[in-house]
C-alpha cells in the first residue's frame, strides 16, 4: 500500500460543508445579478432589444415635377437603386471586398474611402457604396444574395433634368441637406436628405419635396431584413408649372450655345418668365447622384462661373441700353425741350475731359429720335449733364434699375444705380459731375442685371408699369409697381426704339421682322477699365440687346447679353432677341389659326399702329 492510500484520516466534514455554504452564496449572488437585469432593468433592455432588431428604412418620396407653361415635363424624378454595404461583420467584409470591387466596378481606393468616411457611424448603419446602380449592378447583387449577403439594394428617388443644361441656372439643382439646413430645420430633415440647393429647386423646395414614408423592418444581427413590420407610404411632392415656354427656351439655348452671357424673355404684361438662359452653364444631372468632389471644385473655381445665373446675378454696365432711361427722363421731366438738338462732331469736352461718340466721324445735327436710332453718345452726354445724376437716378431706379426685381429665385443681385446720396454714403465724398457724363451712356458706376433691363424696357413701353418677374405659373401675389411716365415720353421713346430696328440706319436695322413691331436698343459696354483690359490683353466687349413687341404695351420683352465678344450689341445679342420674339409670334399665329379652326389666318400686322409711317420720316 503506497503511503497516500492509507485510510487513516477522517473526512474534514466541516470544511466540505463550508464549500456547500459558499456555493449557496454564489448562486444567490448570481440570482441577484440576473434579477437586476431581468426585473429591475428589464424595460431598458427590452427597449435596446427592440432597437436592435427593428430598423426604420425611409421610403423616399419623389420630388414634384417641373412643367413648362404648356405642361411639358422639364424636370422629374425616377426611382433608382443605391447599393448598400452592410459592415456589421468585419471578418466576412474583408473577405468579400475584392469580389465586390470586381463585380460592381468600384476601385479599391473608392471603396476603402467610403468605409473610412463612415468609420465613426454606428456599425449597423450600412454604407452607400454605389449611389446609382446600373442594371448590371442590380443583377450582380441579386445573383450573389447567397454568397455576398453584405450587399443590399435601397430604392431612392433621383432627380432627372430631361434637357440637361437647358434652363439649368434657373432650375438650380438638388443635393444633400447641409449641416446648417439640418440645424435650422428643427428635425424636419435627416442627414442625407435631398433638398433643393439652388434656383427654383430651392425657391419652391417646400412644394416640390414630398414627405418620406417609413418602413419598419426586423433585421438580424448582420443587418439583413427578415420581415416587414409596417409601412407608412411616402407622399410625393407637388409638381409646379412654370411660365417658361419650352420652345422659346430651346431657341434661346440654341442661339446662346457657344456664347457667354444671358437671356431673359418675359411676358411684359404679367412678368411671366418665358425663357432664361445663362451661359456657360452646368448639367444639374451631375448633382442628382452625388457630385464628385473634384467636379464640384471645378464648377466653383471655373473663371467662367458656370454656377452663376447671369440673368439675375451678373451686375453689368448697361451701355447704350441705358439711353432708354435717359430719353424717358428727358421727355418726362420736361427739363429739356423735346426739340432739343446737338451737333455731334464725334467727340465733346465736359468738365475738361474729352468724351467720344462711338462713331468717330460723328452724327452731325441730332435730335432725340435720331439720337436713339443712331445711339448718339454726344447727345446723351449733354442730356445727362443737363439732368444731373440725381434726376437720372430717380428715373433709373424708378424704372427698376439698381434694385432687385423680386423674381422668384434665390440670390438675385441688385446692381447699382449711383446717386449723390450713394457716393456720399459709401465713399464719403461729393459726386464728381464728370461721372454723370459716363452714366448718361450706361457706363461708370451704373450696373444692372439682364432681368432689370428687360423689366425696364417693358415698363417704359407700357407707360410705367413695373411687373414682378416670376417663374411660377399662377404666381399669386405678383407685385405691380407704377412709375407713371407721361404718354408723350412713352410715345417719343418707343418711336425711337421702333426706329432702331425698323429704320434704315438704325443700329439694329438688320433685326427687323416682317409683320412684327420689334422695338429695341442695342448696347455695347466695356466691362472693365481700359487699364485692366490692356493688362489682360483683351479688347472684348459686352454686347447688349433689349427688344420688345409690339411697340406700345408690349407682350414680350427680351434682354440678351453676349459677353466677351468682338461684336457690338446689335450684332452679338440682337439675333437672339429677334429669334425669340419671332418664335413667340409664330407660335401665337399657329395658335390663333388653330382657334379659328380653318378660317383665314389672322393678320398679325393688321392692328399695327401708325408707326410704320412715322419710321418712314427717318430714312
Amino acid at each position: 500500500m503506497p503511503s497516500w492510500n492509507v485510510n487513516d484520516q477522517k473526512i474534514p466534514q466541516a470544511r466540505l460543508a463550508l464549500v456547500s455554504y459558499l456555493s449557496v452564496i454564489f448562486v444567490v449572488l448570481l440570482m441577484i445579478g440576473f434579477w437586476k437585469l431581468q426585473v429591475v432593468q428589464s424595460g431598458h433592455f427590452a427597449d435596446l432589444a427592440d432597437r436592435n432588431r427593428t430598423r426604420s428604412i425611409p421610403i423616399i418620396a419623389p420630388r414634384g415635377e417641373m412643367l413648362d407653361r404648356e405642361g411639358r415635363v422639364l424636370v422629374d424624378s425616377y426611382p433608382s437603386f443605391s447599393i448598400l454595404l452592410l459592415r456589421d461583420d468585419p471578418k466576412s467584409l474583408g473577405k468579400s471586398l475584392p469580389q465586390i470591387e470586381e463585380g460592381l466596378g468600384i476601385s479599391h481606393d473608392d471603396l476603402q474611402q467610403a468605409l473610412d468616411t463612415a468609420k465613426n457611424e454606428p456599425k449597423f448603419q450600412p454604407v452607400v457604396i454605389k449611389p446609382a446602380a446600373t442594371q448590371a449592378d442590380i443583377a450582380f447583387v441579386e445573383s450573389h444574395r447567397a454568397d455576398l449577403p453584405l450587399l443590399e439594394l435601397m430604392m431612392v428617388q433621383r432627380r432627372r433634368y430631361q434637357h440637361g443644361e437647358m434652363l439649368a441656372n434657373a432650375v438650380g439643382y438638388v443635393g444633400e441637406v447641409s449641416a446648417q439646413q439640418l440645424e435650422d430645420s428643427d428635425g424636419h430633415y435627416r442627414p442625407g436628405d435631398i433638398v433643393g440647393k439652388a434656383g427654383l429647386e430651392r425657391e419652391y423646395n417646400d412644394q416640390l419635396e414630398g414627405t418620406d414614408g417609413m418602413r419598419r423592418v426586423v433585421v438580424n444581427s448582420v443587418g439583413k431584413v427578415v420581415r416587414t413590420l409596417d409601412d407608412v407610404e411616402s407622399i410625393p411632392g407637388k409638381p409646379i408649372q412654370l411660365t417658361v415656354d419650352y420652345d422659346l427656351q430651346a431657341i434661346a439655348e440654341t442661339d446662346m450655345a457657344d456664347k457667354e452671357g444671358a437671356v431673359v424673355a418675359m411676358d411684359a404684361r404679367t412678368g411671366e418668365i418665358l425663357a432664361m438662359v445663362s451661359k456657360p452653364t452646368f448639367d444639374p444631372n451631375d448633382f442628382a447622384v452625388r457630385i464628385p468632389q473634384d467636379e464640384w471644385q471645378k464648377l466653383n473655381t471655373d473663371k467662367h462661373t458656370p454656377l452663376l445665373n447671369r440673368a439675375i446675378q451678373a451686375q453689368l454696365a448697361p451701355g447704350s441700353v441705358f439711353k432708354i432711361v435717359m430719353a424717358a427722363a428727358m421727355v418726362d421731366s420736361k427739363l429739356i425741350p423735346e426739340s432739343y438738338s446737338v451737333y455731334c462732331p464725334g467727340h465733346a469736352n465736359f468738365y475738361g475731359r474729352e468724351f467720344h461718340c462711338w462713331r468717330p466721324q460723328g452724327h452731325g445735327e441730332v435730335e432725340l429720335h435720331r439720337a436713339i436710332v443712331d445711339s448718339c453718345d454726344i447727345f446723351f452726354y449733354n442730356v445727362g449733364k443737363m439732368l444731373g445724376i440725381d434726376k437720372i437716378a430717380y428715373y433709373g431706379s424708378g424704372l427698376g434699375l439698381g434694385r432687385r426685381t423680386g423674381v422668384d429665385l434665390p440670390s438675385e443681385e441688385p446692381g447699382l444705380m449711383p446717386s449723390e446720396e450713394w457716393v456720399e454714403r459709401v465713399y464719403h465724398h461729393k459726386w464728381y459731375a464728370g461721372e454723370t457724363i459716363s452714366v448718361a451712356i450706361g457706363q461708370g458706376a451704373v450696373t444692372v442685371t439682364p432681368i432689370q433691363l428687360a423689366r425696364m424696357a417693358a415698363a417704359v413701353a407700357s407707360g410705367g408699369t413695373l411687373v414682378q418677374p416670376h417663374f411660377l405659373k399662377g404666381y399669386a401675389n405678383a407685385k405691380i409697381e407704377h412709375f407713371p411716365l407721361s404718354d408723350d415720353a412713352v410715345e417719343k421713346v418707343t418711336q425711337g426704339l421702333f426706329g432702331v430696328v425698323n429704320e434704315g440706319g438704325g443700329t439694329a436695322y438688320h433685326l427687323r421682322l416682317a409683320n412684327i413691331d420689334l422695338c429695341g436698343k442695342s448696347g455695347t459696354a466695356q466691362l472693365m477699365s481700359y487699364d485692366a483690359a490692356n493688362r489682360l490683353g483683351t479688347k472684348k466687349m459686352d454686347g447688349w440687346f433689349v427688344g420688345f413687341a409690339p411697340r406700345r404695351n408690349p407682350e414680350i420683352v427680351v434682354a440678351a447679353i453676349v459677353q466677351d465678344t468682338m461684336e457690338h450689341g446689335g450684332e452679338a445679342a440682337g439675333p437672339v432677341v429677334r429669334d425669340i420674339v419671332k418664335m413667340y409670334y409664330d407660335k401665337k399665329a399657329a395658335h390663333n389659326q388653330q382657334q379659328a379652326g380653318g378660317e383665314a389666318p389672322a393678320q398679325p400686322g393688321a392692328n399695327r399702329p401708325l408707326v410704320a409711317t412715322v419710321g418712314g420720316q427717318h430714312p
Binding site: W4, R15, S20, L30, F34, Q38, S42, H44, L48, N52
Partner: protein, 366 residues
C-alpha cells in the same frame, strides 16, 4: 460491505439533475439554431451526450485508486501532450488546442488535462498526512498546477488555464491551508493584480482586448464588449417570465454571440426569463451540493479530493460563465457545463462525473 462495485450504486439523484440540465441545454440549442443554417445541432449534442454517458460508465469501472497510482505518469503524459499540441497541434479560430486523431475527431488535450490535474492533486493532497499544509506543500501544489496552466495559456486558452486553479485552491482549503498562508495568498493576489496590469502588454492581443472591453464595454461596439452588451440585452429583455420558447429576438436573430454554446444561458434567459434562470441555477446548485455530499461520504480522503476537484471545476465553470453572461466577468471562453454545445467539454464533464461515480460506487467496498 460488498466486495464489488455495482452500477446500482451510481448516484441516481445526481444523474437525474444532470439529465435535467442536459435536457434544458438540448432544448435551448434547438431553439437557438433550428431556424438557422446550423439547424439540427441538437442531434449532434445528443450524440456527444451519449458518448459522454458511455465514457462515464467506462471510467467508473477503473478503480480510482488505480488511477491515482498512475498519477505521475498521467501528469507526464498530459504535459507532454500539451507540448505536442504546441508543436503539431491544428489551429482553429486562432488557437492551437487540438491534436487531429486520424480525421475522426480532434482531441483537445487541455480538456484531458483538467481530468489529470484532478487526479494528480487528489493524489498529492492525500499524501499530506496532517491537517496542516506547509508552505512547501503549497509551493509544490502551485508548481504542479502552473506548469500545465502555463502551457494551456500559451495555446492561447485563458479560460481553460484558469479552470485548473480552483482545483488547487479548493483542494488546499480542504487539506487544511493555514490561515496565515491564506491571508498571504490573498495579499499576494491583491499585489499581483497591479503587476499583472502592468504586464498586460505581454498578453496576447485578444486577451488585452478582452480585458479592455470588460473594463470599457461601450468603446468596442463589435468586439467582446459588443458580445457582452448583446448578452446583457438578451438577458434583460427576457424579463421575469421570458419571451417564450423560440421567440427571443436577440437569440433568434443572432444578436447573442455563440448563443448555442458559451452564451447559451443568455439565450435561455431571454426565452425563459428570470424563472428559467432560477431553475437552471438551482439545478446547478443541486448538482454542486450533491457532489459535495458525495465527497462527504467518500470512503477515503483520496476519493474526497477527486470528487472535490470535479466540484471545483464544475462550480468554477458555472460561476464564471453565468457571471460573463450578465457582464460581471470578461469573456473567457468558458462554456456552461452540460448545457453548452460542444464535444470536448461535454465529454470532459461526463468523464469527471464518471470519477465521481467511481468514488461513490466504492464507498462500501473494501
Amino acid at each position: 460491505m460488498k466486495d464489488r462495485p455495482r452500477v446500482q450504486d451510481f448516484d441516481w439523484t445526481l444523474l437525474a439533475i444532470v439529465a435535467a440540465i442536459c435536457g434544458l441545454g438540448v432544448m435551448e440549442i434547438y431553439s437557438s439554431t433550428h431556424a438557422s443554417a446550423m439547424a439540427g445541432m441538437q442531434w449532434k449534442q445528443l450524440t456527444w451526450l451519449g458518448i459522454g454517458v458511455v465514457g462515464m460508465f467506462l471510467i467508473s469501472r477503473i478503480d480510482y485508486h488505480t488511477l491515482l497510482d498512475q498519477a505521475p505518469i498521467l501528469y507526464i503524459c498530459g504535459v507532454a501532450g500539451l507540448l505536442v499540441v504546441m508543436v503539431i497541434g491544428s489551429t482553429h479560430l486562432g488557437a492551437k488546442r487540438w491534436i487531429s486523431m486520424g480525421g475522426i475527431f480532434n482531441l483537445q488535450v487541455s480538456e484531458l488535462m483538467k481530468l489529470i490535474i484532478i487526479i494528480v492533486l487528489a493524489r498529492f493532497f492525500s499524501e499530506v498526512r496532517t491537517d496542516r499544509l506547509t508552505l512547501a506543500d503549497l509551493v509544490k501544489v502551485g508548481a504542479l498546477t502552473i506548469v500545465p496552466a502555463a502551457l494551456i495559456l500559451k495555446q492561447p486558452d485563458l479560460g481553460t488555464a484558469m479552470v485548473l486553479v480552483p482545483v488547487a485552491i479548493v483542494g488546499a482549503f480542504i487539506a487544511g491551508i493555514e490561515w496565515k498562508h491564506l491571508a498571504i495568498g490573498v495579499v499576494l493576489v491583491a499585489l499581483l493584480i497591479p503587476v499583472a496590469w502592468n504586464m498586460r502588454h505581454h498578453l496576447k492581443p485578444y486577451q488585452q482586448q478582452r480585458i479592455e472591453t470588460f473594463l470599457h464595454p461601450e468603446e468596442d461596439q463589435r468586439g467582446a464588449g459588443y458580445q457582452i452588451l448583446q448578452s446583457e440585452i438578451a438577458v434583460g429583455s427576457g424579463g421575469f417570465w421570458g419571451k417564450g420558447f423560440g421567440k427571443g429576438s436577440q437569440n433568434q436573430l443572432g444578436f447573442v454571440p455563440v448563443r448555442y454554446s458559451d452564451f447559451i444561458l443568455a439565450a435561455l434567459a431571454e426565452e425563459q426569463g428570470f424563472i428559467g434562470v432560477c431553475v437552471v441555477l438551482l439545478l446547478y446548485l443541486g448538482l454542486i451540493l450533491r457532489l459535495v455530499d458525495n465527497a462527504q461520504k467518500a470512503k477515503d480522503r483520496a476519493g474526497m479530493y477527486v470528487v472535490m476537484g470535479v466540484t471545483a471545476i464544475l462550480g468554477f465553470h458555472v460561476l464564471v460563465n453565468a457571471s460573463m453572461v450578465i457582464g460581471y466577468m470578461p469573456v473567457t471562453g468558458i462554456p456552461l457545463p452540460l448545457m453548452s454545445y460542444g464535444g470536448s467539454s461535454t465529454a470532459f464533464v461526463f468523464l469527471a462525473l464518471g470519477l465521481v461515480m467511481n468514488v461513490r460506487m466504492r464507498r462500501f467496498v473494501n
